[in-house]
Symmetry: C2
Subunit: 318 residues, 2 copies
């Protein structure tokens, strides 16, 4: 059956990404399909199984034998039972036995993890965190997720909230977050947070070339063109990130912060404010020791992290 390979799957609310990696971590085949989440778990799992089987067969023709599958999924995951307990972007997904069903569909061993955790794991194994043992990965998307790696291990802790940096408080009386609390990082540095701040500012009469429905891409373009309001909003997002980074550094001693997710494309607009905040708030060590890097794997980080997880689960000796 040739050289060993592992299939990573990143199941998102809009798209589902699949990639096959070999023992050296090279991507040997990949595919993107629409999740069509509205069709419900059975339909999604059916198409997911087919796509996985196709990719595995395709690999076999190229002398690559798939040994296992790793799946990354947003929401509340029970990795031990292999169950998606609840996923906010996948309507109807309640206690779905992902591991069992995908094992039946493919005949391969399957492991399951949280998408932000596996994003961090991908960057750790193959991206901006290669060669380091300790890092925090921020995933700036619709919300803000994160994955914490300490001494080469993902930390989720008994509460299961390890790495949930999106809900670290950065402003005690600040904006209301989707979680219900006030002043969470996510209320400033996610796409939702940035768009919410834009709408509030426009409603308050601030002038800008931006419209209330503009997205983060449009906001970033406006900021780069010198739009004052847009620049200010990214500044607020960067300041919030700087505060959260200092909290991570003080609590864990981790010195490498990796910025991932779609909103990280605008990191250049947030960086100065984040660094200013770090300098202002990090006194007990040289603030220059806290390093911030952009992720390197982009859209494929969680997929590759999932494949790496399958590989490391050692479910099938090569």
């Amino acid at each position: 059956m040739g050289a060993a390979a592992w299939l990573g799957i990143d199941l998102g609310g809009t798209n589902c990404r699949l990639a096959l990696i070999d023992a050296r971590g090279r991507v040997r085949a990949r595919r993107v399909m629409s999740t069509r989440a509205a069709q419900g778990p059975d339909a999604v799992l059916g198409r997911l199984g087919s796509a996985a089987r196709e990719l595995i067969a395709e690999a076999q023709e190229r002398q690559l034998g798939a040994r296992g599958i790793g799946v990354a999924c947003a929401g509340v995951i029970d990795p031990r039972r292999g169950v998606v307990v609840y996923s906010p972007n996948l309507p109807g997904w309640r206690d779905i036995a992902m591991v069992k069903r995908l094992t039946v569909a493919t005949g391969l061993p399957v492991v399951l993890g949280n998408d932000a955790d596996l994003y961090a794991w991908g960057e750790y194994r193959f991206g901006a965190g290669r060669g380091r043992r300790d890092l925090m990965c921020f995933t700036l998307g619709t919300g803000v997720g994160g994955g914490l790696i300490v001494g080469g291990r993902l930390v989720s802790g008994p509460l299961g909230t390890g790495g949930e940096v999106g809900h670290v408080m950065v402003e005690p009386q600040g904006r209301r977050c989707g979680c219900g609390a006030q002043g969470c990082l996510e209320a400033y540095s996610s796409a939702t947070g940035l768009k919410g701040m834009l709408q509030e500012a426009l409603q308050a009469g601030r002038t800008s070339r931006l419209e209330p429905d503009d997205d983060v891409k449009a906001m970033a373009a406006a900021a780069r063109d010198g739009d004052e309001l847009a620049r200010e909003l990214f500044h607020r997002a960067g300041r919030a990130l700087g505060r959260a980074m200092v909290a991570v550094a003080m609590i864990t001693g981790v010195g490498l912060m990796i910025m991932g997710g779609g909103v990280a494309a605008a990191w250049g607009l947030m960086e100065a404010a984040a660094q200013q905040e770090i300098k202002q708030r990090l006194h007990i060590i040289d603030p220059g020791r806290l390093r911030v890097k952009l992720g390197e794997l982009g859209d494929l980080a969680a997929t590759m992290g999932a494949a790496a997880l399958a590989k490391e689960a050692g479910v099938s000796p090569g």
Copy 2:
């Protein structure tokens, strides 16, 4: 030489505590001596070596053979080199080769660690954290220190700041902390923070039975007697602790917070505010899952943690 025992030493700016524990973690002998830090490192180390030798000889008479020594010390410690790099409460201590000198003085293997870390380690091994693998220990004293244990290991991280919860920001525009930053936990929930808030309030014309020079003990007594200002200051300290606890829970997933140090004696005056803050700010999980416990070992926590460290270093097979 009889049953095995290990000597723990907690070297503080005022007192130095020594305790001998056996393989089951029972304290078999103990001593407290004045550090007399003003005499400088050589004199302190001389007396420390004598006290250690005495305790070891005393133990031997009772059929206990000391196998190793663990030392807890405040400040910047380099455990690998066994060096006290700098200690704020020990004048003149700069790059002191503690391990080497105490080994020469006693003939026993010596290990060295940070006092807040070893406080946490003591509570983990023998106190309020027994049987748990993940906890955060807050030491509320002159400052606020902390020790983070994840998966049964102390976390200090590449920055060496792991567990430094005293410098987690709880109020962006808040009180100036001794470290130079604004709004650190330590500026509210340490003895220094509480006394500073008292002085500010009295200067601002607040009425209270307290005087500007009163200490935390007096403040706690006044609060218990219903003094409004005193109650309010402990409320602020508790609120700050609640915020820091939520940050720890979100970043690490650790669900057990242990309150140690002298100021923790007033925990009853801070608890309601801390719990209120946790309920208000912890939304993504049931806030009741975050448990707060008082430390159980009191003054002896770091000493016992140091002895446990020596035991676990396995420096001399029993």
